[in-house]
Symmetry: C2
Subunit: 215 residues, 2 copies
C-alpha cells in the first residue's frame, strides 16, 4: 500500500514557519533558518538544476526522501499565488520557475478550481477543490505504487494528521527557537497516533527524526 509521508523542517520550539507569514513571506520571520541545512547540499542543488554543493550526513536522508515517490500533495499557501480566484492573465505558476524541483505529479489543495498546469521536467500541478481525502486518493492513484509525499505547509499537515492519514513523519529538527508562527503539532484534537521512532540522523545544523505511525 502506498504510504503518505510527511517530510518537514521544524524548529526546536515546534514551528514549521515563523511569525507574521504572508503571501510574500510564506516562511514567516526567521523561517528561512529552517531550511539553511538543506540549501548547500549537492543532492538538493541537483534537484533544482544547479551544480556543485556539499555532501554530509544529511545527503543520504534527502536522497532517500526523494526516492520511491510517485506524487506530492501540498497546500495552497505552499504553492503561492494569493487567496483570490486565479488570474486569467499572467497566472501564478508556483514559486519554482519553469522547471520545478518535484519532477512528478503535484496535487495542490485549494478552494479555487483551475485547469491542470504542466511544467517542464515532469512536474504537473493539479488543483483539487474537494478536500484532503480526494487529493490523497488522486495522488495515490497517480503514483500507482510508490509513496505519496506531503510537502506542507503546516495547515495541510495538521489536517492530514487530524484525519489520521499520515503513515510516516520525517522531522528535520533545527536548533532554533522561532518564538511564534505555524506549529506543526497544534492541539491535534484528533485520533492521537502511536508513533515509533525508526531512525535518527545527526547532521550539521539539523537532526533528522523519522517516525512511523502505528495503528
Amino acid at each position: 500500500m502506498t504510504r503518505l509521508r510527511l517530510d518537514i523542517s521544524m524548529s526546536l520550539d515546534g514551528f514549521v514557519a515563523g511569525p507574521n507569514q504572508s503571501e510574500d513571506d510564506p516562511l514567516g520571520e526567521g523561517g528561512e533558518q529552517l531550511h539553511e541545512w538543506i540549501l548547500p547540499l549537492a543532492v538538493w542543488r541537483q534537484s533544482h538544476g544547479e551544480e556543485g554543493g556539499e555532501v554530509n550526513a544529511s545527503s543520504a536522508v534527502v536522497d532517500e526522501s526523494q526516492h520511491n515517490l510517485g506524487a506530492t500533495v501540498m497546500g495552497r499557501k505552499m504553492f503561492g499565488g494569493g487567496t483570490g480566484p486565479w488570474a486569467a492573465k499572467d497566472p501564478w505558476n508556483g514559486w519554482w520557475g519553469e522547471n520545478p524541483p518535484f519532477h512528478m505529479p503535484v496535487f495542490v489543495l485549494t478552494h479555487h478550481a483551475r485547469e491542470p498546469l504542466r511544467m517542464e521536467g515532469g512536474t504537473t500541478f493539479t488543483f483539487v477543490t474537494d478536500g484532503i481525502e480526494s487529493a490523497l486518493e488522486q495522488a495515490r492513484e497517480t503514483a500507482g505504487g510508490p509513496d505519496v509525499s506531503l510537502s506542507g505547509g503546516a495547515n495541510i499537515a495538521q489536517q492530514y494528521l487530524k484525519a489520521g492519514l499520515i503513515d510516516d513523519i520525517q522531522l528535520h529538527l533545527v536548533p532554533v527557537l522561532l518564538g511564534g508562527g505555524a506549529r506543526l503539532f497544534d492541539n491535534p484534537a484528533g485520533p492521537n497516533p502511536g508513533l515509533e521512532c525508526t531512525r535518527v540522523v545527526e547532521a550539521p545544523g539539523v537532526t533528522h527524526l523519522r517516525y512511523r505511525v502505528v495503528r
Copy 2:
C-alpha cells in the same frame, strides 16, 4: 564557571506535562508517558534505592546527567505540597519520601518562606522566595564548582530560558503527542538563544538531544 543544565523530558508536540495538571496530578493527563523510558533503567532505580533494572543506550545519558552536579533548582509545583503557606503540622516534604533521589542541595522556588529541610541521603531542600536569580546564585555558591541542574517544571524552565540563564539543554524527546498541557518553549519572548546541538543518542522509546546555548 558552573553551568546551569536543564534536563527534561518533552513530547514530540513540545509538552513537558499533559493537560489538566493539578496538585495531585502534576504530570497531567498522559504525562506519565514522558518518563516511561527512564523507569526501567538500572541507573535510575539505583538512584531511587532500588535494585535490578535494564541497561540500554539511555543508561549512559542518565548516568552522565547525574555527574558533575553540585546542586539542583526546581519549581514549587515539582516539589508539591499545595499553594498555601506551609502547614505547621504534618508538613509536606516532597514527593520522594525520606530519602529523595537528589543526594545534593535542592533549591525550591516558592512564594512561601520555610525553614530548610534536611532529608536522608544528602538531600536538603532550601526554599527560596526572592526569585530565580537568587536561587541560581545560592545553588552556584553551594555547588562550589560542579554544575547546577534545573529540574523543572515547565514554568520555572521557561523563566530561566527567558532570562537567558540556561547554559545546556538536554531534551529527552518522547514520541507521543499529548495534545495539550505545559509547553517548554511557549513564545519565550526573551533573548532568543543561539543553540548548537552537541549530541544525539537514539534509545528505546526516546531520543536524547543535547544543546549548548551559544552567547
